[in-house]
Symmetry: C2
Subunit: 755 residues, 2 copies
């Protein structure tokens, strides 16, 4: 392998299309006779529907279809996992985002008039808006058929009583995180139509085209192979487009009308109805010896998941699995719950429950250090998990060297040992502080369905087509996969064209979530391209008379060790094609969970782990409570850099998103109603809020990774908020246990008013 | 294998689309802003272009582009094999179909006005219109850089002198066949445009989408992976759409204009410019013993291939390979030539040179029988090739039982032994006769590039998508491939959806020619679907605890031996998907040419052989010369019936086409100019010309065939014309050595005026 493509900085392969405006996002796709689809949402967070009158809407000029739950030929439910959420409400509504009626009309105005013409009579019910309230045994069920509490994990390892008994200090705190909004540039949307062959085609801004296909088929009552889901360019997703949003509604309306129907949510609708990051209450109890060594941790994490399960169960499972962070804890007990309320729905968002627990465990590490008068870096290094250590879920971590390496490297970059020499009070009203945080993230979807296919073909002129179901949503996966294919096939990045997801033609790559596509589709690309590589090398061997072992493919030429031979890849491709060698292949990879043997016995390993450390330097105005992040040092292990720009972009983007999480972003939800319903009232970081970010990508290989690579998309944002929180604490000498660290909360802490 | 799909009569899977008009042929695809593309063809069959003025055409209102050879960015040639034919003439024209200028205009009228506005000054040269003339050493070259004679094969086996020396009788005759027209419903056409990603997309009525892609890229000067060729429904092809026609011209115009450009040939243009079946002169010398055993055959076959090679070299190679027919000939010499003239171009047509030589060898067998006073059936049975026999090309035939079986079966069906009892003179002016003919056809493209890929996927609900590059042009290949997939996967035919060829997504299946797709893509389907079958069976084994060996999949259920278990294929598909078993695969098959050992040594086998026999019963009006075919008995071995209706359709269609070849069809070409330039003057059989056809499909398995199957598309039409010719000879007692057997020729024969 020496084609010098892997890891070499390069523009993303679709930059040209993006920069020239040739990239088509959902709303750029316009069909002749396209109808406008709209949904009527509930007026109450909890109510019985006593009457639903849609006749007037049906008679509105320009209205083509008005659908209620009675008009759904297949299953009336979403199906991320538990089918508890109706597509169109039957006789109850459980949050303000519940859709009741779907309308298709010739234009926007007719659709709005029709929505207004619908009469819904409600009998409002008292809502449950506090998950702790909802958990009480006497709290009535939110949904008739389901318990309010969705247990996610209950891990216990070692002897928790003994662990706390051995502790010299016990640190116990409750940390609280907020609802936040994905705030992608492109809100949810879908365009559905029936093609001339009778196939239901759905263009959707999504992350899981094959899961979309399955759900659409299920609700339309048709076979999956008669549904085609195409993912155009996606203007951001961050997890919220993993689960289906309006795809099924658009398809139902297209099925009912026979016309193309597009549903595009506007910003307000998107904020009010779609999934959000779960607010989580984390009760964290940590026992340690005087020297800082952890003896026990007990965690209870409770997420407000809204009325429906969506990804809540799995998010809190993942949160539970990684709740102790990258530290070895001999005695641990972890219980996590997603709890139903009548608030907005919690769903997948970048790092999937990780940022919430990371805030807790990293705050606790600093609290422990403060309590014992130790260096936070030393406390972390002392407890850092090692390869072969057991996690609270009873599995082992395969490769953990990056925990310590990232800690040491980040400390070196910021000059951790010399911080005492730095100016901590640049002005009487300003306090400077530094905070450290480390993350542990597990790539992939765990031990259930987790596989990826890719189809790769080399044309007789040596040019390459790579068909992937992986969704490019700005993270750079197309460039990553193309680079791996080009490297393996000895061609340039320009020689590889990536075909976007289209279930008609691209194999299922699984959802583009869990930071898994570099790992999963990357491995699939290696498998597929290796079939073609072998064809080329065998042909080259026949043509040159040299053994395959000494031959290599790079820069469009064949090499024998370091000597460039006179045969080019295009020539070789033509000959190999003529000689009937396979020049296309379906590369398929399924996640492996090997058994590993430690001194304690045989264990199954967790998935590929990603580790990193960030250090934040903040300046706090103790008069106004304002926090300015001056600098972030971010070190993250990627195993092997494949797409340099993409990886760096993810790391920097993670820091920015993490800073917004720490300081700015908060959906205010009052009695189930989101008040911050625009990007005026809901603040995300702007270019002016972005500090200096110093980055370092580590390359400690993951044994099963393609070229040793692991994902970086999600872990990159986990340590930012706790690093900032720790830095603020370091600056003002007070711990704030709730994010965002608004000026009000900072001032309150300074004034000693926090709990 | 017992899903009871293979071989069971069923409607073709795309019947619904065809019958409801939902099937889209090329001209049904309309793009916004589509321009009309047209070509200016030569006014002379041979001339020097002394001046070409296109400025007036460029200035014509509504004209968007006018291209000459100077405007082609890549290679200015077709490339079936030898790049001797320019896309746009440079300074010479060599037949009336040579294109000189390509025009794109806003409408038909503007395009025609622009064509009229082009001034071409020619210096006419004397044309060569007779291949025998062209072969003479002193005949000037048709093309400056190429010999007039394209040698195809020169086979010699045994000792030809000795063979003829051993003969008691020698039969020597010259047989002549005519130019014929493919006469498909849909003439050639293509629609090209550049999509929003900058990809050149070409919809084409074609048979070889991947070869089209290669040639388009080559002439446009862009990589193959930036060209996408899509084959919509095709209204017949019969070989003429194997080689590219107007695809490159349309793409050049789209590249030049940036707009979609459609070129659609009308019937006259199609007849005048595109490839035809080669007229061939076959000199056939046969020596045999008194008992009918052949001792030697010498054959020289000369095809008029027009000025350019196109498929001529390979057609005459194939004709040479099979020129002795399904008979064992110990001493043979075969020489075949494609010869350049200034006539229309010869190209691929159903059976690729086979019908021409079959007319000769089957006429000769009857002549031999007549000379020796033997039964034509007995003479054939005595000489019939056996498995392991050597062919004139020095290879051996693997499986030849069908020669004798088909002869015996056809004879049984017509009542061959009782024909003497039938009425031979139903009226004083009528004579009835019977004629026998046998065929040998070799499936596939020989020992060069011959492979096929298919991608197959089972969705989690058990429905199946099959992506093939094989072209459905009415022959039924989609139904055939779907049946094999359904059988292997235990689902119904309705569960399988076949995706049409689109080089963006479907793997190269090779061209849909040479009766190869049932065999090649069929084998690819078996390979691909077996990956999924294995996933299903292994999952079923895990679920039921039964070993894989006793499990089977059929009718949508899992069976343990003959007991239906309670687990369905859809359930199994969902579990297998969840368990990360591969549920999609790229099935790839390359033609095998195994070494076979006979008593004479080791030999390479020829490709899979197809054999069949037809017997025609004719009634000749000796006053008018009119021949009426009363009945055809057609027996053809297909190895295994996969798609019953499709196979039967091919057999019946072959008989009809063969009857047209024997009696009606003939392009009259005078000094390079085709006179019969419409379907008024060029006669093809109508429903009124179709006799009773009694069919029988044999199932003698081909060892390498999928389920034992071989193709039937082409062999089915080979014996018809010689059977009819032999029947006419049997009826009137005279041999006519030239087809079609027009009333004039029949009368001349009766009146003793044939040569």
């Amino acid at each position: 392998m020496s084609n010098e493509i892997i890891g070499v900085p390069t523009p993303a392969i679709d930059n040209y299309l993006l920069l020239t405006g040739s990239a088509r996002y959902l709303d750029d796709i316009r069909m002749e006779g396209e109808l406008v689809g709209k949904l009527l949402y509930s007026a109450y967070p909890r109510a019985i529907i006593t009457r639903l009158e849609v006749e007037a809407a049906r008679k509105t000029t320009g209205v083509v279809a008005v659908l209620t739950h009675e008009d759904i030929p297949g299953e009336n439910s979403y199906l991320y996992h538990t089918p508890d959420q109706p597509l169109l409400a039957i006789d109850r509504v459980n949050y303000l985002g519940d859709a009741i009626v779907a309308i298709a009309a010739e234009n926007e105005e007719a659709a709005r008039l029709a929505l207004d013409a619908i009469k819904v009579k409600y009998e409002p019910l008292p809502g449950v808006f506090d998950p702790l309230e909802s958990m009480k045994p006497d709290c009535p069920r939110i949904l008739e058929d389901y318990d309010n509490v969705i247990p996610s994990v209950s891990h216990e390892i070692g002897d928790i009583e003994k662990g706390f008994g051995d502790a010299d200090v016990i640190i116990e705190n409750v940390y609280t995180t907020q609802w936040i909004e994905h705030a992608y540039l492109e809100p949810e949307g879908a365009l559905a139509y029936i093609d001339h062959l009778g196939i239901m085609v759905v263009y959707a801004s999504n992350q899981a085209p094959n899961r979309d296909r399955k759900q659409i088929a299920r609700s339309l009552g048709i076979p999956e192979n008669r549904v085609r889901v195409i993912t155009p360019f996606v203007g951001g997703a961050f997890g919220a487009k993993d689960e289906i949003h309006v795809q099924i509604h658009a398809a139902l309306l297209a099925q009912a009308t026979g016309s193309p129907v597009k549903i595009l949510r506007d910003r307000e609708e998107s904020i009010l109805t779609h999934v959000k990051r779960h607010p989580v209450i984390v009760r964290h109890r940590l026992g340690a010896r005087r020297d800082g060594l952890i003896t026990a941790i007990q965690i209870e994490a409770i997420a407000d998941t809204g009325p429906y399960e969506n990804a809540g169960r799995f998010i809190m499972k993942f949160a539970g699995d990684i709740a102790c962070g990258p530290y070895y804890v001999p005695n641990a007990k972890v219980d996590t719950y997603a709890v139903r309320t009548n608030n907005p729905i919690g769903g997948a968002m970048r790092a999937f429950g990780g940022p919430q627990v990371c805030l807790a465990y990293e705050s606790q590490m600093d609290e422990l250090a403060a309590e014992l008068g130790l260096d936070p870096l030393e406390v972390r290094l002392k407890n850092a998990v090692k390869s072969g250590d057991m996690t609270p879920s009873g599995n082992i971590i395969r490769e953990a060297a990056a925990v310590k390496t990232s800690l040491v490297e980040a400390a070196r970059m910021i000059g951790w040992q010399e911080l005492d020499n730095k100016e901590r009070e640049p002005a009487p009203h300003l306090r400077r502080g530094w905070g450290l945080a480390t993350d542990w993230f597990v790539i992939g979807m765990g031990r259930g369905q987790d596989n990826a296919g890719v189809i790769i073909e080399m044309a007789p002129d040596g040019s390459v087509v790579l068909r992937t179901g992986a969704v490019e949503m700005g993270q750079g996966v197309f460039t990553t996969l193309a680079a791996m294919a080009a490297e393996n096939l000895g061609v340039t990045l320009d020689d590889v064209r990536v075909i976007r997801p289209d279930t008609e033609f691209t194999p299922d790559a699984g959802p583009s979530v869990a930071s898994r596509q570099t790992f999963m589709s990357g491995n699939a690309v290696l498998k597929g391209s290796s079939v073609i590589r072998e064809s080329l090398l065998e042909t080259a061997s026949e043509e040159t008379g040299l053994p395959v072992e000494v031959l290599d493919l790079r820069n469009g030429q064949v090499y024998a060790e370091d000597e460039e031979l006179s045969i080019s890849i295009p020539e070789l491709a033509a000959i190999a094609t003529f000689k009937n060698r396979p020049m296309h292949a379906d590369g398929f990879y399924a996640m492996e969970f090997p058994e590993e043997t430690t001194e304690k016995g045989k264990f199954i390993a967790v998935g590929p782990s990603a580790f990193g450390t960030q250090i934040a330097q903040v300046l706090v105005d103790i008069e106004t409570g304002e926090v300015v992040v001056e600098k972030i040092v971010a070190v993250q292990n990627v195993g092997k850099i494949i797409n340099y720009g993409g990886a760096l972009g993810q790391l920097i983007g993670g820091c920015v998103m993490g800073a917004g999480y720490a300081l700015l972003e908060e959906l205010i939800v009052n009695d189930g109603k989101t008040i911050t319903d625009s990007l005026d009232s809901y603040l995300i970081p702007t270019i002016m809020d972005i500090p200096e970010i110093e980055t370092k990508l580590l390359e400690i290989p993951e044994p099963f990774g393609p070229h040793g690579a692991v994902g970086i998309g999600e872990p990159s944002m986990m340590p930012t908020a706790p690093a900032i929180a720790n830095a603020v604490s370091n600056a003002i000498g007070k711990r704030i246990k709730q994010i965002p660290l608004t000026p009000e909360r900072v001032l309150a802490a300074i004034e000693g008013e926090t709990e």
